[in-house]
Symmetry: C3
Subunit: 131 residues, 3 copies
């Protein structure tokens, strides 16, 4: 397992980690296989989406914050229940194929760490499986 440290600076934030993950694939020496990205937190997640136009990130967060309001009749006393549900909706892991030492992503795809209860210092696990 490799670990990546991610620092978030907002309460909710999408952070592009594509280049970091590609660097770790190279460091691992994996030529052909699957790269599994796993977020070991319960108020953060990982997703794949467009990394060309930064307004996509802000619209995704805006929609999520609209659909799941920060203020409601929540029972969890830490007050971060919206962050927990967002984490489950986006998901704790992504699987991405590797060929010739490169992540196989679509033209517009990037890998985003999803912070839903920041700012915090977070950890991301990366696991590799040979095919």
């Amino acid at each position: 397992m490799m670990k990546l440290t991610v620092k978030s600076h907002q309460q909710t934030e999408l952070i592009d980690i594509t280049a970091d993950i590609q660097r770790m694939v190279e460091k691992s020496g994996l030529q052909s296989g699957i790269c599994m990205i796993f977020v070991p937190h319960t108020t953060a997640a990982v997703t794949i989406n467009e990394n060309a136009d930064p307004t996509v990130k802000s619209d995704i967060l805006g929609i999520l914050n609209n659909v799941i309001p920060w203020e409601a009749n929540y029972r969890h006393l830490e007050g971060n229940s919206p962050a927990h549900i967002k984490a489950s909706l986006m998901g704790a892991s992504e699987m991405i194929a590797v060929e010739n030492g490169r992540l196989i992503l679509g033209t517009w795809q990037g890998i985003f760490f999803c912070e839903f209860d920041g700012p915090r210092t977070r950890s991301v696990h990366i696991h590799f499986t040979k095919i």
Copy 2:
């Protein structure tokens, strides 16, 4: 493949299956690899979230039930369309790394079977891949 039987007692319910999955990892003898948890139902799912404070579970279900109301202009005559969409949003599978025979989860993470159309007796498939 191993199978786990889960009995739900509510219409919507999150059931902590972390200890069951860990027991199956031990039974499988897997030391290092990936554990894949797959739910073979279309109105249930699996997710990873906090298993320390039980109010997180009830808030997650409360938010989902708010965002996707039980009553609406649905065409599917069985009346469980909200359960189907919730299943797709949470997802049919989770992948978790195994090292030294232990599931590699974050401090606060647990694995939850998500019942969205209970109460029922359900099945969960567990598959192991060596790294």
Copy 3:
């Protein structure tokens, strides 16, 4: 890697690709392992849900379109921000076990390509891992 081409005919559409994926499993010769389905687009996704009653598909799309309206105060000028968030909510990949050359799905489960910004011609990647 194998590739499947999918043509969508609506703006939002769920397209059953179960038979196509099963055919590719057979073509690959894989007897026992994991089939990974990956969508290399940022306004499309893949999900597993009921493929018996077609009204389930239309209810799923109806709920998603209700929860995430097409018109809002979006910043992304292409106007397809709802498609991007739907793609992240449903997810870019699904993992399905293969035994004796067959996808191991539940009785009512099918694999659906999710078009959220069609109509378009799309691509789906299929990767196989032996167990």
